[in-house]
């Protein structure tokens, strides 16, 4: 009986391999081989001068040191500044909205309407959104026009010609695109908190502020960290919005040039050596962030099922409640 069962499970094992084969084959071809090729290129001087190829010549770590001494730190800083300018209002507003939406004592009219509206920008094509902002915030565009007519400003504001203005526009777009998504994620986390904790706190006479800072925040800390890390990864990939808004120039004076825009420039120019070493830098940073996400997803919850089940339950509850 026992041996028969063993034979049976062995005979099914091959189906496991067959079913996961397409995924791993595709990943090997389109991600692992390219990664190896990218790393290999990073050690070579290899670019095109006109139609003439220079290289490939082995240069060791020269590309890496050249990047560090050139513009890489500046572009990393730009990326970070624009990310944090968008992320701080995003997480603050999302926390406030999520706690309002989940507060049973607070009667909000049209809750579903607001949820639908704040999530909307997340689905908009970032490049079209950036093009729209470019048109709206141009010197003779509608925003200046409206502000002038309302008498708020005396003359047209040149939004995209100052560092602060251009960076703020990028951050504003990132904020608009992501605060709704974060709100909805945080709502699910808050609804996963055992309601009896809140009830006990209310009986003890806790104020709203105490409930928020002493119960809600500590309880959803894991999801907050998760949001922070995934948002960092998203920020690292920031490209569409500043690329289209500034026409790939990162203007003014390359203060809105992000890391991926820099990579894009090297790729367009077919500078394989520099693109390679820049990619490896990005790979290392992403690898660290991936490791953090991995640990959070697998920690004390080996396959993520509890986390998912909790969220599914919260979502179901919300669906019923609205």
């Amino acid at each position: 009986m026992k041996s028969e069962k063993k034979i049976k499970s062995v005979s099914y094992a091959k189906w496991g391999y067959i079913f996961i084969l397409p995924f791993f084959l595709t990943y090997a071809i389109f991600s692992v081989i390219p990664l190896a090729d990218t790393i290999r290129n990073s050690f070579y001087e290899f670019y095109y001068s006109g139609l003439k190829a220079i290289g490939p010549n082995w240069v060791g770590l020269a590309n890496y040191t050249e990047l560090l001494s050139a513009d890489l730190p500046k572009y990393a800083w730009n990326t970070f500044v624009m990310w944090i300018l968008g992320f701080i209002p995003q997480i603050v507003i999302a926390l406030i909205l999520a706690s309002w939406f989940t507060d049973a004592r607070l009667k909000i009219h049209g809750k579903q309407f607001f949820k639908v509206v704040i999530y909307l920008p997340n689905l908009i094509m970032a490049s079209a959104f950036a093009m729209l902002f470019f048109a709206l915030f141009s010197n003779a565009g509608p925003v200046n026009n409206i502000l002038l007519r309302m008498g708020v400003i005396g003359e047209a504001v040149r939004f995209m010609e100052s560092t602060l203005g251009a960076r703020t526009l990028v951050a504003l777009m990132n904020f608009l695109m992501w605060f709704g998504n974060t709100t909805i994620m945080l709502m699910a986390a808050i609804m996963g908190i055992n309601p009896s904790i809140f009830e006990a706190a209310e009986l003890d006479g806790c104020t709203h502020f105490q409930k928020f800072f002493r119960i809600t925040l500590p309880q959803i800390k894991p999801l907050l960290t998760y949001t922070l890390v995934t948002s960092l990864i998203g920020g690292l990939q920031m490209f569409d919005v500043p690329q289209i808004l500034t026409g790939g120039q990162g203007s003014p004076d390359r203060t809105t040039m992000t890391l991926i825009m820099y990579l894009n420039n090297h790729l367009q120019a077919k500078n394989y050596g520099m693109a390679g070493s820049l990619s490896v830098y990005l790979f290392i940073i992403s690898g660290i962030l991936c490791a953090i996400v991995f640990r959070m997803n697998t920690d004390s919850d080996p396959d993520g099922s509890k986390f998912a089940a909790k969220r599914a339950k919260a979502a179901a509850k919300k669906g019923g409640g609205v």
């Binding site: 094992a13 496991g16 081989i33 026009n145 007519r149 990619s279």
Partner: protein, 280 residues
């Protein structure tokens, strides 16, 4: 006292929500209004009321040979549709392989996918471009579709969903009834996975529709461009000589289909966000 204070909070909450909703909608409102106005009207300044050039602008846009926008819509539909179908099917297949079977590398396979869950595709873009050029797939829609067979985040979603909604007894029962492994997946598992597949198909479709970085590097010929690439070429156009009504109309064509899909399925989508564990 208590009553009064919560009244104050209620007013504050509504004011803040109205301001945020206004911010989210206002830009799209200007977009739609401006898409209905002619270049000359737009030069006169902003007006809150729609103009009468909606049809003219639309005709101008679709008849512009420099930017074949209808071709772009078609290309984007092909890529996004194929991606949505392939991503959901193969992610469910992979998740089922790991969920339903016991094999030696099961744990290693799961760990590997979890490790690459949020790895950005941009870091391998250089090697990817060189690879598809060597394979003769550059300037084609295929490299925008095929790699999506391996989508770790969707796999994770499907796997979590199976753990909460696909009892293993059911698979066993199908076996006893003589169902082959592959048809068990297609005929029994896929129908059970429908809600998860629908959510992920929408998110994948939208993500693919909006994707700009890789397509812009892969596609070189005009009649293979997807919508985001065409939108980007607008930015490079000579601004002084360009019909602004046309620009607003093109942006409208790029984003309004998604807004319509969203409004039709909004409740479902907003709930899907939290079902989804990880979203890009």
């Amino acid at each position: 006292m208590e009553n009064k204070r919560s009244h104050g909070r209620e007013i504050l909450a509504h004011v803040v929500l109205i301001i945020l909703a206004f911010m989210c909608l206002f830009f799209f409102y200007i977009l739609i209004i401006n898409a209905t106005r002619s270049h000359a009207q737009l030069q006169l300044g902003f007006s809150a009321l729609p103009g009468s050039s909606l049809v003219t602008n639309f005709k101008n846009v679709i008849n512009d040979p420099a930017i074949p926008i209808l071709r772009g819509v078609l290309n984007s539909l092909i890529v996004s549709g194929c991606c949505a179908a392939i991503v959901t099917y193969f992610s469910a297949l992979t998740a089922y392989g790991i969920y339903a079977y016991d094999f030696r590398l099961k744990k290693a396979a799961f760990t590997f996918i979890m490790a690459i869950l949020v790895m950005p595709t941009q870091v391998t873009a250089l090697g990817f471009l060189r690879l598809i050029t060597n394979m003769g797939m550059d300037d084609s829609l295929l490299p925008l579709i095929i790699p999506s067979i391996a989508s770790p985040a969707v796999f994770y979603f499907m796997h979590s969903y199976m753990q909460s909604s696909l009892p293993k007894d059911l698979i066993e029962a199908a076996r006893i009834d003589g169902s082959m492994e592959f048809s068990t997946f297609n005929r029994i598992v896929l129908p059970i996975m429908k809600p998860a597949i629908a959510v992920q198909a929408i998110f994948t479709f939208v993500g693919s529709w909006n994707n700009y970085f890789i397509p812009a590097l892969v596609i070189t010929s005009k009649n293979k461009q997807t919508l985001p690439i065409m939108i980007a070429t607008l930015r490079g156009a000579d601004y002084m000589n360009f019909d602004m009504g046309k620009i607003y109309m093109m942006i409208t064509i790029a984003i309004v289909p998604i807004i319509i899909i969203y409004l039709l399925l909004s409740k479902f989508i907003v709930e899907g966000v939290t079902l989804g564990g990880v979203k890009e």
